[in-house]
Point group: D4
Chain length 173, copies 8
């Protein structure tokens, strides 16, 4: 469905999709092309290796990889491509409060960085990918500046509303 | 000394320099231009705001921000520019094993991502900045591919040496 | 509704209101005037800066700031005013058991303290604000002494009731 | 030596003095009067109770209490006076990385807040005490504003120096 | 209802009763007399002090104290009596996974021990109190030996049942 | 039901069965014989000791032991047999997020290893037991290779499906 | 040297002696008889079992057991005697900040309590043992009351000294 | 030097050798053949893949893999061979107290177990490898039983010595 994808979104299991689709939705909303796939470090190591090694040739500029538990996918992808890799720690069912996933992704050794975002922060991974592309794409940069401004407007409005209706009657819309 | 900087390296205090200079050294080694400064979220908030808001105009494409303890610098910078911001958690003297710094940088809310690297990983921040630039700069991409290959060669050599001299006589060079 | 506010209550998002309104309710109950607003460090940095810098001129004597995750609001406010700032760590939805919020607020560097209260302790933030005002306001001091006494009375009564009805039949009222 | 003390500084053991004297030194530097004593919740409970109950009568407006391990002093003091109490968690010798002290001080129940500062942050406790007094003392408020400005100047200078000498030759002064 | 109580069971709030009544039920089941009360370190400090100081005179031989969050009750009681004090960490509503309560009770300084049991382990506190009494009360010792044997019998039976019905059809009774 | 068991599966309590039966189910699925029992380190120490000491004589080649909280069963079994022992940390009801169980099983002293698997990973314990047997049983080795391949096939299919139906319409089957 | 020991002090390894001798020294100082031995749960399980099962017959009234890492000794002893068992978590060389030892000792299941003291708190274990004996030994009770009073005197003196010499010149004696 | 290796020992970096050589030394001491190499998941992914995929063909029966930080080596090896894989978490220089390494190795997803040993427990990894081989190698089993007995003898001797010389004069030999 996506042609000429600039961003690759991969996840270790389809149970990670509810988190990872937030990245897809954000990229869709600003018309950045992407591809999306399930690639497991532990169950499909050969596919993972091929995915990483051919990513650049296929035109990808950024890769977003999400995984839970002992989350090796982002780091392994980063070890096999010089593209920037964004890691999304996912709090899976038997996770220890998400610590396992965070530390497995964040604490990469010297030489092989992974750009880690917050726990379950699929949306922020999408935004970060767009920021990376936008750093050398003026049009996209302006779209992101506009998006950032829209966040501000929304918060300013809740502040106004809170002052008007008072804290006792305020209802989150 | 650096002209036309593409990367901005900032830190909350000059006591962070031993970590943050590793980013500078890496960028120097691959001839990526950068600027370096001390910008404190808590002691120079106005300078910080101006730094973030003018970063793009001054030609920066990526910002690397390092800080320790309640580390607000990376997140605050990211809140005032659409450029990609890399956060380096630093284990400062009264830090609680680095947890404070990691969580203050990593756990950003939806809308404002920070690309977090490992604790004290100044070098990886430099590499990640280069990867971001390299995602739309073919020449730089090739430099990074070559760098990644050099890491491999080094490890392969230690493996060969270990087999030759045996584990009893091996000395880390 | 509040005229001449002495306390400013701010929060990073309106989803923090259920916690932060506990501060408002306590201050209301002892007739301490306050204002309440949504101010986000990451989405409305300019409003935050203006809020902090003009707080004293507008007559505020204490500021209560609540936020979750990478919670930068209390510390950033404290960096731009010499007023005492009370920080309320909030356990938001993707928080890591509240640790992120606590450490982001508590572990401020030398020079810029934040008076941190317990996780989700909106009410205690209100009481602490009143104690701060009461330290140079005799009337308020007496109100607080009376409040503290009322807590004692309530606990003494539960003790009496437990002895009377016995542990098997006791029901929390 | 201090007459008419406005701040009370107490600590659970004289081994806490290296941390707690930082509060004293700051208050001395801005001419805020204080008294200093060793009061142990677990070894001198009667003295502690008397200290808290008479604090207000003796003219104290703020109390700073530091302790390590299972640190009950700040919370117990706060339970017996309506004055604002600042708690300083201290990382003592057999502490578990300071977590025990932080949580024992921070996580007070509803009704009895302790204004907790960072681990070992004796200096910040002194500054917070001054901010509390300054919230209704214009002269002191101005002193604190000036102090806050001096922090800014120092950081701005390190930034200038770093730019001038370059990161390779920079030496922390 | 209990005459000549040998064990005192106290808790910081009546919301701790569901946990603390497990101690009472065990003691009832083996006919050890006890008294039960609500005593809050932070809301009724004077009652707490009196409770501890008169415990021995009133014939108590062991005190069981349960509390949550910044749990000061067990340690403060232990500081005002030479009787053995058993502490029960309770995971209260805004607790940080129980860590606050555990560390506040466990990490007592040299000189003032608290016999800490597991999180929410009201029943084990009752058993430990009985073991303490039983260490110089032969009859009670035998009762406890019998109780310990009954635990064994129960587990042996579940093992037998599991072997008989097989793991597929086993249902926990 | 199982004759000539090669694997022993034991657990500290029948409440651990939902986790531990996953090991049994896996072994059943590949026709590896096993026995299953409830053996509590703390309630049936004599049975535990006998179980460990006679395991080898009865023909067992691997033991899987699961327990929660202060989980002593796997380590104690390993101390009384030279057979490989697999430990399954179980997150029981009053566990502290599973940390207690993990650390009690994992952190064995030099001389007495326990092969620890992930929290609640009963199934992985079964697979690890099979791998251990398969390391000197060619037929079983091939069965495991086939199983590992089947995992790959399943993940590859979810990837294909995701690409076909798109992330918006994908439903986990 | 000790005749008719009332307290048994055991430890998992002689490397625990520096901590465990503090219990011995305290008991010696108040003339409570004890025996001391090395008993390893994992290396001498049979000795451990015999030790626990015969403790009561040999006249022991309390057992103090210290161990590090996956510390099973205190809990296993408690599972084989109805005597009160005091557990001392020891921070051994490869311990994870002592968490492993604390949780392995503290988090015992229902039915088998261990009276846990603070990390490395050998001295407090000795004091707790004495308190347990003192709960039915008036003479010993008075000795402990006197000891508790001596702690108070020492702290009161440091307070006096601090006031006299001032915080600048105070030196810990 | 080793011919026909039955165990493969690999590590992510030669800085892990001081820990991993303990496995080698133990295997040497009981005449179990092994090979040893440096294989980095992140720097030599192709070598790693080849190592895992050919391990069985080359006659290996068990693989021991050690790594620090975001430690992906053990899990990735386990994903590409049905042999049993033992993981050794190593506390490297910028590790967060070893938690990162432990969780990255331990928390593997269903289907791909890693037999994890304690932090820095290179020796226990060697022993576990031997136990695995010994489970179907009677001679080796007896060697391990003898080794286990020698541990007991050593501890029994330290106990005897402690009783003889007394705790005051005991010196660890």
């Amino acid at each position: 469905m996506n042609t000429n994808p600039r961003v690759g979104i991969i996840m270790g299991s389809d149970s990670d999709l509810p988190i990872m689709k937030q990245a897809a939705e954000f990229l869709d909303s600003i018309h950045v092309t992407f591809e999306i796939d399930v690639v497991s470090a532990h169950r499909t190591p050969e596919k993972m290796m091929k995915y990483a090694q051919t990513a650049h040739e296929r035109g990808l500029q950024v890769i977003i990889a999400g995984a839970g538990g002992a989350a090796h996918l982002p780091g392994m992808i980063a070890s096999m491509t010089p593209l920037p890799v964004i890691g999304v720690p996912i709090k899976s069912s038997n996770s220890i409060d998400g610590w396992d996933s965070i530390l497995s992704i964040l604490q990469m050794p010297n030489g092989i960085p992974v750009a880690t975002v917050a726990l379950n922060a699929g949306k922020n991974a999408g935004i970060l990918a767009a920021r990376i592309l936008g750093s050398s794409d003026k049009e996209l940069f302006l779209v992101l500046a506009k998006y950032q401004n829209s966040l501000k407007e929304k918060v300013l409005k809740t502040g106004e509303k809170l002052k008007q209706v008072g804290y006792k009657d305020y209802k989150k819309s």
